[in-house]
């Protein structure tokens, strides 16, 4: 997280100069402020009230609830009942679970193949644009601004499987197609990923661009002294300098794709033949699409399992990549 926030925060440069010069006065100063604060403790609480209200009710308590509810059976009318590991057993015995996990993994792999390299290549090319770079980044960012629901519904129309569909017409210009797109089990998921990449790539491009600006020009100068050409500069200077950001966007993308919902929900509703049902859609199905009343226990159990898998994965990932990271 800290890797990405500096772009929004005020420039840290003047701060460092100040703190080095004024280290001691600042500390004395802070103690002064603290002494003053001791006088109005209740007022501080007044200012903290909105935060405490919203985080206690809508963040901290639900997190604790999630851990409890996974072991309970609730129907909102009778008091909740402890059922031990039953909810986990229900989920693990669901024949759809394997399919949903496989689909989510497939989505993640496709999204990495498409969504990881494209923004990087575009950003590196864009960083060399000398005039009207703003125009390039605005165009790249536009799809991110389109509300995802509008984008999905629009692409659903583009994906019309008839030869007159928008994408099939374009494919026809090149003598290809018509493709079944969302209608076929084999092409449905790649089509969804294509849309997801379209709608998210702009954000990643902007992050990479910000990181590219931060690459010290001296490094390129030094590489040139050693006789490096353009490609070797990209390979030996640019990419290694971006690795901190690349490591972060990789894990953020994995965490994001593991929770994919809107795209398959709107484009295919999980079909055809459950070939695009993801883990989050399964959670949604347990809790909110059950005609017998939501199985909230099973839904929380599954979301808890997903969260734990993600946490373990992130921990391993950061452990393994520790030595590559720049900061």
């Amino acid at each position: 997280m800290t890797q990405l926030t500096p772009t929004t925060a005020p420039p840290p440069v003047p701060e460092t100069i100040d703190t080095i010069e004024a280290a001691t006065p600042a500390r004395r100063h802070r103690r002064g402020v603290r002494g003053w604060v001791r006088g109005d403790g209740p007022h501080i609480l007044v200012f903290l009230l909105p935060l405490l209200f919203s985080f206690v009710l809508f963040s901290w308590k639900p997190i604790v609830d999630a851990a409890i509810m996974a072991f309970q059976q609730t129907n909102l009318i009778a008091p909740a009942e402890w059922v031990g590991w039953d909810n986990f057993a229900t989920v693990l015995n669901d024949p759809l679970l394997g399919k949903a996990v496989a689909n989510t993994l497939w989505f993640a792999v496709l999204a990495l193949l498409l969504g990881y390299p494209i923004p990087l290549v575009v950003a590196v090319l864009m960083s060399e644009v000398r005039r009207a770079r703003g125009l390039y980044s605005a165009l790249a960012y536009l799809p991110v601004i389109v509300p995802p629901v509008v984008g999905a519904l629009l692409w659903k129309f583009f994906y019309d499987a008839s030869p007159n569909g928008v994408f099939n017409t374009i494919a026809g210009w090149f003598g290809a197609g018509p493709f079944p797109w969302l209608q076929d089990q084999a092409t449905a998921m790649p089509s969804i990923v294509l849309f997801a990449t379209w709608s998210a790539a702009g954000g990643t491009i902007i992050i990479y661009l910000a990181a590219l600006v931060g690459v010290a020009p001296e490094l390129y100068d030094a590489a040139e002294v050693d006789g490096a050409g353009v490609w070797r500069k990209v390979w030996h200077v640019t990419l290694p300098q971006l690795r901190g950001v690349l490591l972060i966007t990789f894990i953020l993308q994995i965490i994001g794709t593991a929770q994919v919902f809107l795209e398959p929900f709107l484009l295919t509703a999980g079909g055809p033949a459950n070939s695009t049902t993801t883990v989050l859609m399964l959670i949604y199905k347990y809790a909110f699409q059950n005609s017998l009343g939501g199985d909230y226990g099973a839904a929380t159990a599954l979301s808890l399992m997903l969260a734990i898998v993600l946490a373990i994965f992130s921990a391993i990932y950061f452990r393994l990549t520790k030595s590559w990271s720049t900061s």
């Binding site: 772009t7 929004t8 925060a9 903290l48 963040s59 999630a66 790249a140 509008v150 939501g294």
Partner: protein, 309 residues
């Protein structure tokens, strides 16, 4: 071509050279082969970005005023046979897009207010007033960023169905969308970071002049933090406009639903041209915000795009 190519290095020489170079050096730019290849690559890139980024939006704009038959028969015709402005009017009035549009605005404004209120007061308390227990709260707020949002989905829903102390369900009220929006750790940390960078001497001086904590907040800190309030505001409104799953769960009454929830359902029973007009109307505000606050999006947090879900 050549004229501009010479102009660029000349301009660069005025500034300290180190600041304005990328992968390609001045010497590289002077080489004809590199220059031509780069220019062609950039041209191809620009055309692709126009086709991929702007294309679908322009298509939507065109199709919003094209009769259904034209769109179906020749979806990629550059110019429709007849222009049908009636689509927009029909979507706005007969399909009641006006109502869903208004709902979306109400939701976005409420979310904006709640997020600004929580972020500024909390940022002020935690990074200007700094109580001794502040670190614990910051830690707890930070910790929520590591919990995936899906874990919260069901318990949060049940909190809204049976809110503590209130004894009345918040389902089908705007409060169900407004209130949970306040628990946004990212906003709080962003504002705190900004407040940390404000000069403490100003607070000290205001205190000397007898300003209490409320006066200090309202007359000094809030006016000084306009830039960060701007950033949080724009992202709050855009995020609220985009939100789909949460309003789908808690706003079941169609009369309360925002555009994002209503559009997928409308698709089933309205004509294609009117539907596309409705989609176009839903995109106007986010695009307008983007055009006005472009700098904020492009210099600042592209973060919204990276963290999906």
């Amino acid at each position: 071509m050549t004229g501009t190519a010479h102009a660029a290095p000349a301009r660069r020489r005025e500034k300290p050279q180190a600041e304005d170079r990328g992968i390609l050096s001045v010497a590289d730019w002077r080489r004809r082969r590199v220059r031509v290849t780069t220019r062609i690559t950039h041209l191809i890139l620009l055309i692709s970005l126009i086709v991929v980024g702007l294309g679908p939006i322009l298509w939507l704009a065109k199709s919003a005023i094209t009769p259904t038959q034209d769109t179906l028969r020749q979806p990629l015709a550059l110019w429709p046979n007849g222009i049908d402005w009636g689509n927009i009017a029909e979507a706005w009035t007969r399909v009641e897009i006006d109502r869903y549009f208004l709902n979306t605005v109400i939701i976005a404004l409420g979310v904006w207010f709640v997020q600004i209120l929580v972020a500024t007061t909390a940022g002020y308390a935690l990074s200007v007033l700094r109580p001794r227990y502040g670190k614990v709260i910051v830690g707890l707020v930070l910790a929520t960023m590591f919990v995936p949002t899906i874990v919260l989905l069901v318990p949060l829903y049940l909190t809204i169905v049976q809110p503590p102390l209130l004894g009345q369900s918040l389902i089908n009220t705007f409060w169900a969308v407004w209130l949970p929006a306040g628990a946004n750790a990212f906003n709080v940390l962003l504002v705190m970071r900004f407040f940390d960078s404000l000069p403490r001497e100003v607070f000290e001086a205001a205190r000397m002049d007898g300003a209490g904590p409320y006066r200090l907040f309202w007359s000094i800190v809030v006016p000084m933090s306009r830039p960060i309030i701007g950033v949080v505001s724009v992202f709050a409104v855009i995020a609220a406009w985009k939100d789909f799953l949460w309003p789908l769960l808690v706003l079941k009454d169609p009369a309360m639903q925002p555009l994002s929830v209503r559009l997928p359902q409308l698709q089933q029973f309205i004509e294609l041209d009117v539907f596309l007009a409705a989609l176009a109307i839903s995109t106007v505000i986010p695009i307008a915000l983007f055009l006005v606050f472009q700098r904020l999006f492009l210099n600042g947090a592209g973060l919204g795009g990276a963290v999906k879900g």
